[in-house]
Amino acid sequence: MHTKNDDPAVGGGRPPSRSKPAGLRSRQLTAHVLVAAWAVLALLAASAQQTLPVARWLAVHLFLLGAATTAIVVWSEHFAVAVLHAPLPDRRWSNARLVGVNAGAVSVLTGVWADLPVLTGAGCALLITAVTAHLVVLVRIGRRALGGRLAPIADYYRAAAAAMVIGAALGWIVATGKAGPGHSTGLELAHVHVMLLGWIGLPVLGTLFMLWPTVLGVRMAEHTARLARRVLALTGGGLAIAVAGLAAGWRPAAVLGIALYAAGVAGAVQLFARTVRTVRNRPAISPAAAWTLAAATGWLVLGVVVDLGLLVARPLSEMRDDIGSLVAVLLVGLVAQVLMGALIYLLPVVLAGGPRERAALRAVLERGWAPRLVVLNTGVALLALPLPGPVGTTGALLAGAAGAAFLAPVVGVLVRSGRDLLRAPERAGASRRPVLWGTAAGAVVTVLAVLVANSGGDPSGGARAAGPAGPVRATTRTVAVTLADLRIRPARIEVAAGTVLRLEVTNTNAQRHDLKVEDGPATPMLAKGSTRVLDLGPVTGNRRAWCTLPGHRAAGMTLDILVEGDAATDSSGHGGHTSAAADRGGPDLSADFSAGWRSRDADLAPAPGATVHQVELHAAHTTVEVAPGVKQQMWTFGGTAPGPTLHGRVGDVFEVTLVNDDPSMGHGIDFHAGSLAPDRPMRTIRPGERLVYRFRAEKAGAWLYHCSTAPMLQHMGNGMYGAVIIDPPGLAKVDRSYVLVSSELYLGTPGSTAQVTKMRQNAPDAWVFNGVANQYAKQPLKAKVAERVRFWVVAAGPSDGIAFHVVGTVFDTVYKEGGYLLTPDQPGGAQVLDLATAQGGFVEATFREAGHYAFVDHDMRHAESGAHGMVEVSD
């Protein structure tokens, strides 16, 4: 009816569920559905490794933190109950622990992926809580139970749980970058070791003591329990020493610890080998499981030996890359394979309702096991060998294929069992609690919604300090670093705290150089033209990097990575995401404007036919993208800075209605083009009020208008200016007419001390044409060959004038401040229209050939800081 060797807890023990009530089966079913789901996600993440930089971390943790952890929690409880002959723990609390572990895993994974340290922290806390509860339960059931001769095996699970708690805490520190440059490598290594060798390695070893003889179909050796105790002392103790040593950066302790661990593993393997020899004529219960488990154990041994070798041979700071590949190998070779081997045997045992069903399920899982085994192990071997890239990729593909080939029948088995359970008269659903499921579903949907709502980076309105500013949103920055002759360019990189920094290091010098980051990764010696990428992870403290060749560092071949101090005063209003050029504090003008941005149309609309122009101008605050990727709150007339351009002829009347839509301050307006008593028309009106400003443009010129409210430096500095173009009588027709209002740009919260200081010191962040830095460089003005183009220019300031120059052409007409300085009939030409603050005029030029003609403020500081545009001349 029920063979003796069916349940691994053989040897005088009552198996936990002989009759397997549907509730228990459904619980096992759910747990394994979770495991399978995590494994599928891990495979998907692994396949996306080329495109997503975080995919590798995701793949590793989806599998280990998701699939493997769930399996270990479920099975260690199951086996602990079995070996201790204990009563089953409360089902609801078991479920709660499982949910807690999974929720914690989801939280950690999402937190790292979406870069939300709060979520990562919450997830780690949840994991620690759930696993501690798991540990407490494991200890308690031992105390209450009679215990069997295999009771020492339960200690493996307890030690593993303790390891997990330590590992989760270490992971938390590493993931949030709190370790600081001195310790991060050591803590990361400690995390990897305690998790792989402790949380996963110890339960594997412990369970194998029981599972190995079971799948082989032989009796357990007499001294198994005694040996198990000894092995645990060696492995557990060794691991503790090793982890402490790694965390403290003390290599000898790490070597000793891993050596002890290896000794323990060796002892266990010796027993397993001897057990094989006792298999005589009887075939193994499950050769598939046996061989898979054997292969997994082989990789464990190999992994531990290689790890020991690395620790002996290399200093800790250089181990990171090698550990990375070792983790990959162990992940597939040990963890995935041990899971496969165990599940081939155990899944039918727990899911089937009777011996015939069990055999059927096992047959499904074992189908094609031999080729699958070979493919998987070949793949892992290819991954392990230090061969060129494509070999490793092939290995990964093979391993992935084998994994998928196992997942498919597992999913089939789970579906089949699920259907059987639902058909069973005792509805497994009776144990489900609708309130719990409903709350969980609602919470998941809400969390997803909040994540999507917050996605997309900095929302508009960056100048207004957003309410609860959480931790700085770390971005990934890749900086191209060039190794030149005894110099590193750039010599300084400034990053915001927490930024994930990647250095793309290229050697452009004939001599070989390398780059080593202080307490971090290093490139090998690079020949001329070679490139390497270094991943520094989140940068939380200042670090240095240098070339390790003798004398090079002393000669000055160093790179400083500096963490920007809390630049709240300086960068508020930047939108928080400007990547400052290494040397300047201004906006990054080489970046791209946001998607969908359009430059301001610089065409001068023809003067309306009427002689009375009625205009309504609204004074308000508007958020404008004033430089690539930089949004700033501007004070505007008509929603733009500069405000709308008015155009008319001599003698025209302008009736301007000013409406103050600004709820927080008063504004006024001053039109230079009109002559009238300022008392009433240029007065300041309160929010919501309006005034009518009527003036007659009696004289021609390019006139400035601006806000007349004190302090005018700030009102103008924040964008309240514009142009009024009054054509001189008899103005010749031209093919194109553009209006460019030049001004300074001051970033920051308008009215803040920092910003006003910049205005006072005449230290703007950029000089601009028509309000936006470099906008016509990104979206050039257009002209055709041989067309005559007129540029109206008004220098709005508030402090600087302009030396307007167009590269590649000569002005044959210059009109400045009401008079022609130069007309086409004269032999001379002009290169610059020089305007003092608030002056205006126009120049005309023709373009001889097709090409790109830049126009600039020829004060080069201004030109290189945004007063730069382009005319694209085509045939």
């Binding site: 309130v435 809400t446 709502a453 996605s455 900095d458 709820p663």
Partner: protein
Amino acid sequence: MDTVGWWSLVRFAHVAGAALWVGGQLALSLVVLPLARRLLDPEAKDRFTAAAGRRFGMLTGAVFLPVQLATGWAMAWHKGVTWASLAEPGYGRTLTTKLALFVVVMLAAAGHGIAHAKGRVELARALAVVSLVGSFGVVLLATALPAT
């Protein structure tokens, strides 16, 4: 400009409607239904809860939903929301997810009614909880939006 102006009244109607919806659900789940289960005979309890649910559902459909939709639409129009701006990060996306979550809540509420009609009590209860938790999520996102 008055502080209690027309648009603040629109906002008031929207918030009051939300308060009634969430408050009504809470009152039912935390006060009315537990007492009904405890104090009434099973048959009377079934009739009472069915009637209560139907009445609440009717109020939702006839009063709550139109008022929320109308006032919500008006506020969005007043704020200058366009279809394109709904995808933009910040206000647009928050509003979009709030709307999506609201749809989920309404579907869950409708599903709750249907499940009860079909006699699937547990599913109905789960959906009711989903609706309640989701409603809190909607309020969470709404409070994240700046006042219109």
